[in-house]
Symmetry: C2
Subunit: 450 residues, 2 copies
């Protein structure tokens, strides 16, 4: 029977395999989170809640229908941490893995970097890659836990509590899960810039993409080798990531200047703006109550969450590269240029088309979800739009409507978290076929477009 | 001096010429509408109002900062009708003209149909085409005015008034201007199905595109010629147009069933849904108060207005063909097909790319406009989103916030009406350059997209 299953699994396309693994991870997580030892006595925790939190944790989104600290026991919190830890690592590994098998034409050097050894493609190469990801994430998390835990000795009476909070926050930030056990996200640390700087750094390391981390590692190893060249992917995604961070900070400062930030000092304002901007990449933690922001800020934050994080990272959304390619294409198209040149390289038509497809489809999906939720829920349009963007971008920020969602509403958000996490390119390949095999060709004919 | 100007004009690209002509039309219209004989005594009509109404009329959008029947004299109403009449015809002619000069590879037959005579390209061909448009529009309008005017004898005391209202409505519907002199759009005819059917037909004839009208005419002339073949453009745009009409009707029935349509008979419900659905293509007239609809209906109507009407018609938006090509491309991309086959023809890559560019750019523009208006205006998000979509789609439906817009708000809407009317393809070519002349090529490199 096991052999039979294995045979069936081996017949799946890579895209279908990813969806199967993801579904299995959700099932296991639902069971784990429903264990009696995980839930506090006398607290209501329905199957729907378990499913929602499991999908949220496996997809490291961080939206939740229940208050974590009031629902889970300490053991439950550790189980949750375990789930989103492996959710984050798994997704990062699968994303990278998927890129390797469908992107057969990527440069040998990049492939080599990620696979650790060019002769070891196949299973052993995969295992090495997985080990690499596990190692790099664990190092980052332990480093973060140490910094935060030590600092939290100022906040908590015992060192156990301090380090427990430090570890949870470090893993939650690095995997971009965005769950909190304070019961109020990062609001207790709203004036603690040290915690915020560490958290922003951890969220960024998780969301910038595994290939980028590997190349940075390689760069430091080959420090004296002047021939080292970062890949085009690393350059585009890093510049876009930083660009979005700066743009978000700037726009929040601008739009909230006379509102939430009125009367705050410049450094308070700056950190509020910076942290919330960073959180929209995918982190999902917040140092303020999202409901205190103006609707225009919420609109911009929604669009930032919709863009999301880098590919092959723990984040979701249409991804930074997709957004960058859209902008580059629009610019070059308007200029009448035939090829898109960036960083002394040319983009392939295939990639540019893919980025436009992903964006268009993502907008269609999010718009449809918004209309459905506007019918099924009693909440304001902006709260729904924000929730939809947050789920699709697996950011996990919320105006607080998650626990009040109807059953249909919860299902819609679950599906969005799933799609946002798996990624639209993989999702498209999963639902799609293998192409038209017929050799029939028709004459080409132009139509009027605009 | 005139020769000098002519020289300068002849050096402009076709796209720039269209923008120049459009701007000149607005200037002339502002002057005409500001004439003392056009404005009722003691009514405030500022320059900003004149500019807004002029842009709205030239672009046949129909949004207005003033109540037409309370601001303009009868002479003023005729002047307004004159402006949107020539606005509609001008834009239809320019759109077709532009298609002819940039779409050099279109089939000889289509070209022939539109140019009336294949040997008469150039100026004389243009004049013939313009005459053709003028003739077809005038025939439709007079026919509509006759039907409506006769019917309006039931409503108005004198035949002059009846036919004046009939003519105004007929021209307003055919050019899709959507202005009204009832002071309450089509609400007075909410239970008059005859008026509604005629109006929907007039709006549709105006918005379906000039090439479609020409091909239909040709089809009836060649009735016995079994070799007659409609162009791919006509097939795609007509099917999409009807598809959107049916989808809109269905979705309004569904979403308003328990709200606005509760307690209405099936035929009342059907006509409310049908008329409002048809109005989103570009007509902009309404048989109900838009504010009475639910937010989900308003969201769907916003997206329908955003899509807009057919190219080379009196309507705006991203256009029906653009939307259709997006959907076709997404479907075929997901299926893994390399070529997009539809109606036994294949689409060109160029057209598909163009449609994705137009959509992406339009979403960026409308989103930015929404954020700006959310900052400058005190109105609800849905009212702003609806207004932005209405302006970009030159539909002219409104939740009533137009007269209350701030100066910045009015400018934003003016720019949107302008872009929506000129069309994004032309707009892109206008702002863009003539392409990269350098021969530098870089190696191609793939990046991770999704
Ligand atoms: K998250
Ligand atoms: K209109």
């Amino acid at each position: 029977m096991f052999n039979n299953l294995r045979k069936k699994l081996s017949r799946l396309t890579p895209a279908q395999m990813i969806v199967v693994y993801y579904s299995m991870a959700v099932l296991v997580s639902v069971s784990l989170l429903s264990l009696p030892l995980a839930i506090q006595k006398g607290v209501s925790f329905t199957f729907m809640d378990a499913l929602f939190v499991a999908v949220s944790a496996v997809s490291v989104t961080g939206l939740t229908t229940v208050n974590i600290s009031e629902t889970f026991t300490t053991a439950g919190s550790y189980i949750l941490m375990f789930v989103f830890q492996f959710g984050g690592i798994g997704i990062m590994a699968l994303g990278t893995f998927f890129w390797l098998i469908i992107g057969k034409k990527i440069g040998l050097k990049e492939r080599q970097l990620i696979m650790a050894d060019q002769n070891q493609t196949g299973l052993s190469g995969m295992v090495k890659m997985l080990k690499g990801i596990l190692l790099i994430i664990t190092i980052i998390e332990l480093f973060g836990a140490l910094l935060l835990g030590t600092h939290f000795l100022n906040y908590y009476p015992t060192w156990q509590e301090a380090f427990m909070h430090g570890l949870f926050l470090s893993v939650s930030a690095t995997t971009n899960a965005g769950f909190d056990i304070t019961g109020a996200s990062m609001i207790p640390y709203a004036n603690d810039y040290f915690v915020q700087i560490v958290t922003v750094m951890l969220m960024t390391l998780g969301a910038i993409g595994f290939p980028v981390l590997m190349e940075i590692k390689e760069y430091f190893i080959q420090r004296n080798n002047h021939l080292f060249r970062f890949s085009l992917f690393t350059k585009i995604t890093t510049v876009t990531f930083l660009g979005l961070l700066i743009f978000g900070t700037f726009i929040i400062l601008l739009l909230e200047h006379n509102h939430f930030l009125a009367g705050k000092t410049w450094h308070q304002s700056f950190f509020y703006a910076l942290f919330q901007s960073a959180a929209t990449r995918s982190g999902g933690l917040a140092t303020l109550n999202i409901n205190d922001l103006t609707e225009s800020t919420l609109l911009v934050m929604s669009s930032l969450m919709f863009i999301g994080a880098s590919p092959s990272s723990v984040g979701g959304g249409i991804r930074t590269t997709t957004f960058a390619l859209n902008l580059l294409f629009l610019y070059h198209y308007a200029r009448g240029n035939r090829s898109i040149k960036v960083f002394k390289r040319e983009l392939t038509n295939e990639d540019v088309t893919k980025s436009l497809v992903v964006t268009t489809l993502a907008i269609l999906i999010c718009f449809t979800a918004t209309v459905i939720l506007r019918v099924t829920e009693e909440h304001e349009l902006i709260a729904i739009l924000f929730e939809v963007s947050s789920a699709f971008g697996t950011s996990g920020l919320s105006m607080g409507i998650t626990p009040e969602l109807s059953t249909i509403g919860k299902f819609v958000i679950i599906i969005l978290m799933f799609i946002g996490r798996v990624g639209l390119v993989i999702f498209l390949l999963f639902i799609g076929g293998k192409g038209d095999k017929t050799q029939i060709h028709y004459p080409k004919e132009k139509v009027i477009i605009g």
